[in-house]
Symmetry: D4
Subunit: 255 residues, 8 copies
């Protein structure tokens, strides 16, 4: 509609009803979003190839189901759909609204993630390797794995390679060096990214987890450890933010 | 220059060289700031009547003098000039560049503020009252007083009325109720804004100071006290931010 | 009764039974609130036009119902009644005691607020605009909206305009500039007030929310972000304190 | 028994079987508690007249009932019994074991305290006044009141006198000045002890409460406020520690 | 002057020029401090017998000397004068203005305290014992000792009795039990007050010091230790606040 | 399989098909874990004689039972099995899979530990003494006791010897001096290790517990107290980490 | 030497003096670093093309000069040399040892960086854009710019585009979208990366700076803001770590 | 003297002047330290073989020199003397008083330690290995090395083996496994003890250092990392406490 308004203005100029100088004045008072901004978002989607994402926490099963239905209703999109931090009850609600695509829907109980994988196209250039330290870091690691996969990446995983048993990590040196981006998930002292970062020359996205007790302070110890990493190819995302790490890794992997 | 570019585009439309539809296309690719955004800043200045402000911390005397010279060189502006968090050495440098306006320049040693008061016009509607608790809160209070004054407000001050001698504060009830906005500066336990807030029905801007020692943690105790104020007309700015409190108070006082 | 006591004392003076000097002595030992203080509170209510407010947290449905009944029993008051941080169960209890005014009672589930809107009179001079960043900030925003409305203000709202999609905010520039006071509700990094503050010349009350996870530390990240805002017209209230922000905004809007 | 052992040793000396020098040697190897230490505790009880106290948190009803039974079984003691941080279920268990003293047992639901008041003797010299700020501070205040009473003090209380309505506090100036020790309970910004401390010349024991939300951080804001009090007769105990405040006040009141 | 004003009002009543009812009206508009409040402060001084105190930190030698001169100029006062957190340079300035009383002035370098002891009268009822843990706690302990002495107390001291050499403390059990109030100064883990509190039945004022390094966090470790003391007769003042501890102890010692 | 690969390489050398120099080249590209690393872990187990340990938190009863069955299935091992941070439900599941060894399985409800003590062999050289302060520290102390015992140590325990009743600790001086390593468990102010450390000349492993409330901050106060211990033979493990303390103590006791 | 040892072993196999099986046994006891590890570091350098870097903080001018001389002495390397966190005095020392390359040495006073740019070869694939918020963030931004340049990247910079003047940032939308990686440097509330991240589809490395005062807590406010960014393509490095951000950006830019 | 007093008492018993029963009474009132406690300290020194230690921080050169002179004056002691956290000026003062032993005095500038090594006797049973991560950790490591040596231990050191270059550590596996106790010094993320702890079966004493910047928070990041170590043979001492780590290691090494 705003383009319409602009069109009229320009037609007035064309018709000589409005001088260019006056048109400039009036243009300045048009809300600028009418010109150009809707496009921004569109471009962004094109560029990132992001899956459609719903952050489930704090939303009811009904709310989520409704959003999913709307997403599936878009005719021209075959984007994968990813719902994070959700539960089995929501999965049932999603299945009910998913129609014939309900068979593509899967619930991953460990990480509380629902995926509707409508496209298996790989658009990332290399492999994203998700490395995690202890068994209790696996839910966050799985969130990262699923997110990266839904966003069109080839993903490998390497679990239970904590630094107190350094040889288990070293046994997998080849996987480390074959990856294009590494996501490194660790709780407790958060030392794994430093060791991994020292073994490779590629970017390492560190995810602290809230694993641990006492002075782990819900992941703060790991977070600080990672921010102070002595390896210079390590960056950090928020505690338990497997999703965010995968977004960044996916960004990098498309470059 | 961009307006020029736009003018040319519109003249092409006027001249029939460019259809309105194509003009829209090209308009979308113009950087939008060319249309409208410079105005934003301009409007803002008009609306706020803000003095010209230099945050002195981290700038050399020479850098500050240079900025002042540029400000004074603007022909059509008689804005007051305010330099916060600075020192006597900078004051000398400022005096040297200030030319005939150097006699208006003053250095306020307690708060480390330099003022060049070129206009005494009062644009705020009522009085801003700056209340402070202890003698060591005075530097921050003075920064607030000078800032509010430079921004065109009538300012009163009420010092040394800490809550442990509540009668000193109560003796000044009339000043409190006659103000339009109150800035309340306090360190240590930061209790003053709660008491003041309870005595009046106008907005109270609380400024925690880094006054105190030990568990005052450089003003954190006062900050938390103020954020948790049981008086519902209290808002808070950053520790020692007398300048910020005066900006907000000035905003309110123009409404 | 105390006025009575004072009256007697003065009558003794009048009757010559007590010298003025002795009367002074005795006056000094009267509790001073007998003279003047009850008035304070009264004045304050007049000046602020505050709705009657009950902070529901930690009170049983029965306790709240009892307070409401007492409020409604006051013959000469048509104040709106506002109950914050409460629930549906309390709403039933309130309905039961509200008599013929029960049809005015409403429960707002999202924010846990009960309103009994007995007067629609607008006493605030302009519009209070409540802006919020993400969907999970809405409960706090709604508490602010309802509080401001109950206190006699015209209120507008603008939701879901987070800084990572800056164009959505910019599309609403006109609403921003038309408001008289802005309440800005945001969790996570708490960046919205800085951007909003930079776009307008009016006071912005920032409310950090406990939205987020990990290193958001229950709203501390947003709180710190807001306290350190680079926009100088921003002040801050406590985490999740939508009510307090609306009180301050209402104070300002009456000036 | 140890005294016995010592007696034997001394009898050996008396009997000439052991030289004094050798006795010294052997004395040095006796565990010294045999000589003197049991007395310490005894003395302490005599001196303090402490009620018998059970910290209920983390103990089962059965464990508490068992301890109470043992206390009541002591023939020569008429000490009051105080159980803090407990619940109604424990109260039933205590009643069952209390025999004929069960009619003295009372459960105070607000503070979760059980009292068995076997003696009404007042051993404190003056009155302990418990002052509290908001309604949600009352549970902690009540714990203080009951503890002080069980320890043989005359106790008065003054509730709901927060600093944002300073006149309510000032109306009670006479109660404040008539007390011998004041316990001051407050959450949120913890400003009450500063104001109270400034009005009196007696010791003020400040108790921060975990009342509040957001940046009150479970009582930390109030705690810091109190530690930084600008009144010099204020000391502080742990958050929510009404019991501890009453112990100290009772200590002082016996001096 | 205000009493004068009041006197006139009452004389008008006496003279029949003003009815008692009208007098009440006019009384309500008198600033109430005119009636009664100056007395408050006066009473407080009488009751507390406090020495005159100057908090030296943040004041120049000249400012302090000026205040001292004013104090000495008061004809009818023989109060001791105490200046805390000051230095040798200030001491010289004070000596210069002290006239014939300059021989009473002493500088205590360890604690940075200046005393002008004009009266040796003891008004406290018992002995205040200042106990400290390590050699680096002595400055704070000395501040407490001097403050308590200037306020008219008999003071004893017991230094270097840290808990890691528990026998050194136990050797002085008699001093502990003979005191009326104990001030307990300790840095590092702040454990001393718990042990001392367990050995006596009198109030123990704990002063954390900023002694230590690393995870002592400038006294926070000691502060937390003391707040969590398992001895129930311990209260706490701010870090390094020897002055405050002595004020409270002095308050108690006058009871 | 890798050994196989290596064998082939060496056979090629032996057969003269590969020169030693070329073999070195190829060896460098073999993943080194193929050579040697599995052994590392094996050595470590031999050296430490550690029991088999399962950290129960976050694992389902079924998962734990499955791990236990696998452990019991190892023919040549008679290691004790220790499951920490678990519950009665898991104990039932473990019993079901334990077969004839189920009679050795015990559930320790206080600490939530399951033990299957298959060997009573003592391999530690001296006694590990576990000392604890309050009754609420006992669960953590018990975890330490059971862990140390399962790892083949002679263990003694000394409970309820908090520093506020120092004589109770001193009565047990002989137990303290007879131990080879001491584990010291304490919450609240965490002062016990300092006192114990001062009484002995052996290593003291301090375990802070999350016992307490308010400013104990879930064990942080105790943790800081212990880190700042003035006794120089004290080291610290994480909050509530009775298991870790026993591991270290066991390490030391084997030296 | 170890290769020698290995060679002998293999020669023994070749000579038939050692069976392959026995050789395996002996190989297992060789320290594995003899085989392969030196190579690791070498590979890493090759892969990363990192400049030679010296972290200057805590090193004397002499120490740094010595390291530089050693670097320059390596015949076959033309690596750039980068010294961070250093000063003018060190620069003189470096110049003295740099011989004919001293003319390539430059000191960047703002960021305290010394560069010796021996190669201008660009190995990064795209442009790294360094965006910063305020003038006081420039030192950190410059450290990032210089590091990225020394590591062979094409670098652009965009300064003074804080979020409170959002239009200044929006004016440079094209630079943002043309970059391959963005480094975003901001202090205070750290909001810039969220806004920038929302405008682009490429990775954004956020660097919090210690700019600000009061509740900025030396960069903690900015750090938390960035960790909680609502833009999903943002990762974070340590406070003031311009160097680290550039390392990661360089890593990414080589992919 | 007290023994004398006791002797007299016993002689009175022997002489029949005092009955054993009365003697017991009188014994109870003797300060118990007279019996036994001096011995405690003596025993402790014997048992620990500790060097004489002076904590230099906060002491003047003169004070330290005086203490050293007193130590050297003890005829029957050949203990080593260790002064930590001191400087070159103090060293001169110490040399002056050391007489003929001055040639044994050495100043270690890196760690600010003075040693007077009067005895080279080795009383520790094995080797203490001090491992450190970065070059800036060396001062703390050196303090540990010198302390351990002065206390009669054989000490080895292994510097610059940070976890980001894991192979440098692994190259020294044999040193690690040959030690009896390991002290592990690391700043930044504090990950080294976890890796080291996983490679050995002996106790690892972790020392966090205040190395680093930004979110290292003066060693807190490293401290938390170490407390949360996933290796179960790691304990922790205070930040920068190389001395304390060596004391504990020495304790263990004597077992």
């Amino acid at each position: 509609m705003n383009s319409l308004e602009l069109l009229k203005l320009l037609e007035s100029v064309q018709a000589g009803k409005l001088t260019p100088a006056k048109a400039i004045e009036r243009l300045k008072h048009l809300p600028f979003e009418d010109l150009d901004f809707a496009k921004v978002d569109h471009h962004r989607t094109l560029r990132q190839g992001f899956a459609e994402v719903i952050f489930g926490k704090g939303k009811t099963p009904e709310q989520i189901a409704k959003i999913v239905r709307a997403m599936l209703a878009k005719k021209d999109s075959r984007h994968n759909i990813l719902i994070t931090r959700t539960d089995a009850k929501t999965f049932s609600a999603v299945k009910r609204v998913a129609g014939k695509e309900s068979r593509l829907a899967k619930f991953h109980a460990l990480s509380g993630v629902i995926t509707i994988e409508r496209s298996k196209e790989i658009s990332g250039k290399g492999t994203i390797l998700v490395v995690s330290a202890g068994t209790s870091d696996i839910p966050v690691a799985e969130e990262a794995v699923l997110t990266a996969r839904m966003m069109g990446n080839s993903v490998e995983q390497l679990y239970d390679v904590g630094v107190a048993g350094i040889h288990r990590l070293l046994e997998h040196r080849s996987e480390l060096t074959e990856a294009r981006v590494i996501i490194c998930v660790a709780g407790m002292e958060g030392a794994l990214p430093s060791v991994v970062g020292g073994l490779v020359g590629i970017p390492v996205i560190a995810v602290p987890t809230s694993t641990g007790y006492g002075a782990s302070f819900g992941g703060v110890a790991a977070l600080l450890g990672m921010l102070n990493s002595c390896a210079s190819n390590v960056t950090v995302v928020n505690i338990d933010n497997g999703f965010g790490a995968a977004c960044v890794a996916s960004c990098i992997n498309r470059l």
